[in-house]
Structures are given as structure tokens and as C-alpha cells.
């Protein structure tokens, strides 16, 4: 088994008085796809938003416990969130391209982090990111058109390219295909398979089939608790926990 990239230790998250995660201990392996499944409101998204500290945006959210990336604690007040997010990219449920050109959507991140000083360097980053996101062939002749004019699936790949553009180590995906049709979904899944060669990927999904198709490791959450985690094959064929069994066979959720 490959090395552990991200390690969470007794992670608890509170939204005001309501506790959303209870003592989550979860290891995520480098250059592997980990799928998080579970019914709505079970804390999957809350968990991945801890990895790039997106919960900071929400005033009433409080996080206790530890998360380490490469052995470095990130749930630390003194940590520079900007450089953390440079290392941990995120793709959201609904494609959210900026109201800018395709080119500017991609070059936004590198510019912010001072990468790509010259135009040609930026051009290169844009081309590389779009190629990695399997979008280059479709948009190379219209880079100055608005990103919002693309189809839903293309928009989501644009967002993946945007996440890749700053050269992260980890990509978090929060139900990236839930707003897409089956063909666009298949494309994204294909892409995820390709991306895992370079990046550590965590994907939240509601589709069991998708989890089976793309992930090597699966974690099952229920009511804020991590119920079971293991190799995807094992979780879906022979889970240890009755609740996991019930969920994946569609008895609840």
C-alpha cells in the first residue's frame, strides 16, 4: 500500500451548537482515489472542507482535533491558509467558473501565487492545465470566450483545470458529477483515473457505482461518524459493518 498523505486524528467539527463530525480518524493514501460515501448530511463534505480549511469561511464553524498533510499539522491558527490551498485544490458540486474568459479562469490561481511571471509562462500553464483536464482540444481556439458559456461538463472540467493550474498535491472533489449528465460524468471519471497518477484525490459521491469505478479506498460516513473504511473492493463486496451493508445495498440513505 502506498504512503499516507493525509491523516486525520480525532477530528470534530461543530456548526454552532450542532456537532457535524465525531472523532473522525481517517488516513488518505498518496496518489490514490479515496471515495467518501454516506447519506446526505452525514459529514462527508464537512470532512473534505477541513482538508483545505474551507470551513474557515463559515463564521460559526469550529474544528478541533488534528489533520496532518505529510506529517505537518494544518489545523493550526498560524498556518498560512493561502499556501495550504495552493497545495490542496478543490472542485465543487456545481461547476462554478468565474465570469471571466476561459484563459483568465485558469490563469487566475497562478497569478495569485506569483507563478507565471511572463505571458508565455502563463500560456504554458494554461495549456498544460487544460490538457490535463482533457479540455484543451475543445477550447483551444476560443480561450478568450467566457468560461460560463461552456456546457456543464466542460465547465466542470474547466474547474478541474483551474484547481490543477496551481500545481496542487491533493484535489478534493465534492460530488463533482452530481450536476452532470452520464456522458459528461463518464468523461470526468476517466479524467480522475488519469489524474490519480499525479495527485492524491478525495471524492465525495452519492453514486455507489461511481465510488466503485473510480476509487481504491472508500470511507462510509453516517451521522457525522466514520463507520467503516477500507479498500473499495472490500467495502462493496464484503463490508464488516451491518450499516455499511445496508447502505450500499440501498436499504437506507
Amino acid at each position: 500500500m502506498s504512503d499516507v498523505k493525509i491523516k486525520s486524528n480525532n477530528l470534530n467539527v461543530f456548526y454552532g451548537d450542532k456537532q457535524a463530525l465525531f472523532d473522525v480518524n481517517l488516513d488518505l493514501n498518496e496518489k490514490e482515489v479515496t471515495a467518501l460515501i454516506g447519506p446526505s448530511g452525514c459529514g462527508k463534505s464537512t470532512f473534505i472542507r477541513c482538508i483545505n480549511r474551507m470551513n474557515d469561511v463559515i463564521d460559526i464553524c469550529k474544528v478541533t482535533g488534528n489533520i496532518e498533510i505529510d506529517g505537518v499539522e494544518i489545523n493550526d491558527e498560524n498556518l498560512d491558509v493561502v499556501s495550504l490551498r495552493e497545495r490542496v485544490g478543490m472542485v465543487f458540486q456545481k461547476p462554478n467558473p468565474f465570469p471571466k474568459s476561459i484563459y483568465d479562469n485558469i490563469s487566475y490561481g497562478p497569478k495569485i501565487h506569483g507563478k507565471g511571471e511572463t505571458k508565455s509562462e502563463l500560456d504554458e500553464i494554461v495549456e498544460r492545465s487544460l490538457k490535463k483536464a482533457a479540455l484543451w482540444e475543445e477550447v483551444k481556439d476560443r480561450l478568450d470566450e467566457p468560461g460560463t458559456g461552456l456546457s456543464g461538463g466542460q465547465q466542470q472540467r474547466l474547474c478541474i483545470a483551474r484547481a490543477i493550474s496551481v500545481n496542487p498535491e491533493v484535489i478534493l472533489m465534492d460530488e463533482p458529477c452530481s450536476a452532470l449528465d452520464p456522458i459528461a460524468t463518464a468523461k470526468i471519471e476517466e479524467l480522475i483515473d488519469e489524474l490519480k497518477k499525479t495527485y492524491t484525490i478525495v471524492i465525495v459521491t452519492h453514486s455507489m457505482a461511481q465510488a466503485v469505478r473510480v476509487s481504491q479506498k472508500t470511507g462510509f460516513f453516517h451521522l457525522g461518524k466514520l463507520i467503516e473504511v477500507g479498500k473499495t473492493e472490500k467495502i462493496f463486496k464484503n463490508p464488516d459493518n451491518k450499516m455499511t451493508q445496508d447502505y450500499i445495498t440501498g436499504r437506507f440513505g
Partner: protein, 467 residues
Amino acid sequence: MNFVLIFLIVIFSSSLFFYGKSKTKSISIERNIKLNALPKFYGYYLVLWSSIPALVFLLVWSLFEPVIIKSIIIETAANQGAIFNDKNEANLIYEKIKAIHLGTYFGDIDTILKESAISYSKFLNIFTNSKIVLIFVTIIASVIFSLKKIKNNNKAREDVEKILKGLLFVSSLIAILTTLGIIFSLLFESIKFFSVINIFDYLFGTNWSPQRAFIRDASAITAAEYDELRDAFGFVPLIAGTSFIAFIAMFVAVPIGLFSGIYMAEYASSKIRRISKPIIEILAGIPTVVYGFFAALTVGPFFRQIGESIGLTVSSESALAAGLIMGIMIIPYISSLSDDVINSVPQSLRDGSYAVGATKSETIKQVVIPAALPGIIGSVLLAVSRAIGETMIVVMAAGLAANLTINPLESTTTITTQIVMILVGDQEFDSPKTQSAFALGLTLFVATLILNYIAQRAVKKYREKYD
């Protein structure tokens, strides 16, 4: 009289609601049929049918009654030997007769006038009585008609919907027609003005002094007189002053308004926002006349003092004082609107920006503001047309002299101020001086219209780009 009638009609037809409701219920029970609509729709149906024809009749009657009575009275007066040469004199006699009838005429009353006054009150009586009778008949007829419809179990729901649709249509028609009426009255008076003053002399003249226009009969103006007048109605100083003051106002209001809008939307905690937003909006509720005397009595003299202490001549009525106060007045328009617009930018865009590691200010500058730009431009242009049309502050603080200047410390004047100056006091309506107010109004209207058009085009263009 009419109010009493309207009141009675409304009371009567409202009470029919309950009658209609219970009547239909009993019909459906008696004949054991299923109604085509709920009983209350039959109630509404009865209310609408009993009131609308009577009210429309009353309206039409009230419009035509005075005209008809007047023509009858003038004719009878003429038959009795009253002499009048033109329409104005006839009108005068008619007014006298009316005054005698009301008992408010204190001049000499000759027999002709007296006879006419008697026949006037006779006609008035006849008309009033027949009005009441006819309204009564109308109501009875429409109630019978609608009751018959109800008995036949008509589709009351559809009919009520149709009538309501008609009422709403008439309301919007009234709004549109009023607007058209205002435009045409501006247009016709302006045409009269431009038939005396050449439109190019008006648009490109650099001197504005309408008080020089002392001519009795504008239609018979001689060439010599026109030479005297041609440079009295130059529009350039007014548009220059207006734009100048509006520019100063925007210079104050846009940065402050926009920045406070951004603060409110992005940084302020909900508690601060809850307290400070209404306070800013109070600025918009202060009457402009209060701003006006603040500008004229406090800010103007203050600038003058500062100017004197550093050796500058500052007029106590200055473009700077007026523009500054106008800018403060406009701040809430811009801040409140841009706050709303920024708030409506979806959170997902901010999340996307944070997720690549952007800071809050980078996100605001590069993602939120560009996304909100159409709305922000819209709010700024709205504020500009507000500034151009603003009257009270400039009347009080900017001065009356039409100086063509770009020195903000001198007094200047605006289109609105001049319209006020021209129309205050007694006016002769055939003098070019008075008519010039309409020309100014028309110009202001056209300028605002063009501004709004440009604003909408700009906003639309950005929308297409960013949607």
C-alpha cells in the same frame, strides 16, 4: 355629491357579495347541480358587475356635464342678448354666471346675467337629478343582468378573471397615457419656443440671460429684436454647470458609496450590518431642502472661510459646496444598491476563488466586483440621473448666475435651477422666457433618457458576457 354617490355605489355592491354567495349556494341546493365556480366567485362577479358600469357611467358623465352645461348656458345668454366677441369673453361671462350661482360674485349684476344664473341653477338641478336616476337605472340593469347569469350557472371564475385583467390593463394604460401626455405638453411648448429662438442658437449659445426677453408678441418678432434675443438663450453654460456639479457629486459619492457597499456586503458582521445599513439609508430619507440649507448655510461659508485664509476668492455659493452635498445625498443610492448587487453574487464563486488560495481582498477585486459590475454600473448611472435632475440643493447652494466656468469655487447654475427661476412668480405664457423652461425640461428629459438607454445597453452587454 359625486363622492357620496361613489361611496353609496361601493357600499351597495360590496354588500351584494354576500347575497351572490348565498344565492348561488341555494341555487345549487335547489336544483341539485354542481356549480361551475366556488360561490365566492359569484359574489365577486356580482360586486364587479354592479359597481363598474355605474362608476364608469359616473366618470363619463362628470367629464361631459360641465362642457354641455357651459355650451347651453352660453347659448341661452347669447339669446338673451349678451355680447361677446371671442371665446375668452364667453368664458368670462360663463365664470360670472357660475359665481352668481354660488353667491361669490360681487360686481354689478344686470338682468341678462341674473336670468342666465337662474337658468344655470335650473340646468344644474336637472343634470344632477337625471344623473342620479340614470346611475340607479344602470345599477338595477347590471344587477338584474348578472343575477340572471348567475342563475344560469355561468363560468363566473373565468369572467371574474377577465374583468380583473381588464382593470389591471386600464391601470397601466393610465400610467402610459399620463407619461405620453407630459411628453407632448413639453414637446408642444418647446416647439413654440423653438419657433421663436433658433434651435442652434439655443443648443450652442454660450450666454444664458432669459430675463432680457421682454417681448409682448412672440409671433411678430422683428429681425432686429431677434438679434437682441439670439444670445439670451444659450444652453451651453447650463449643461456645463449641470454636468460639472454632477461630476463633483459623483466624485464624492462613487468611491464612498461603492466602498461602503463592499464593506457592508463582504466584511461587516451581521450585527454591524443590521445597525449601520438603516443609518446609511437615513441619508436617503433626508429631504433635499434640508441638504440644501446645509449646503448654503454651513458648507458654502465654510469653504469661503478656508479659501480666504489661504488667499483664494471663493464665492459663498459655489459648485463645490453644492456638488459635495449632492454627493453625500447620493451615497446611500450607490452603497445600498451595490451592497444588494454584491450580495447576490453566488457564494460558489467566492468559494472557487478561495479554493485556489486567493485572499478575501483578491477575491473581491477579481471575482466578486467583476461579477457584480453590471449592477454597480446600473446603480452609478441611476445616481447620475438623480444628480442631474436634483433641484433643491442647487437652487439653494450653487447660485443663479450662468457662468461658463470650470472653477469649482465660483458660483454656477444648472438646468433645474433655471427652470425654477423662470417659473417662479407671475408669468406670461406667450413669452419666450416662460417657454424656454419647457425647452429646458425637454432637454433634461432627453438627456436622462439617453443616459438610461446607455446604462441599459452597458448592463446588457456585461450580462451577456458574464451570464
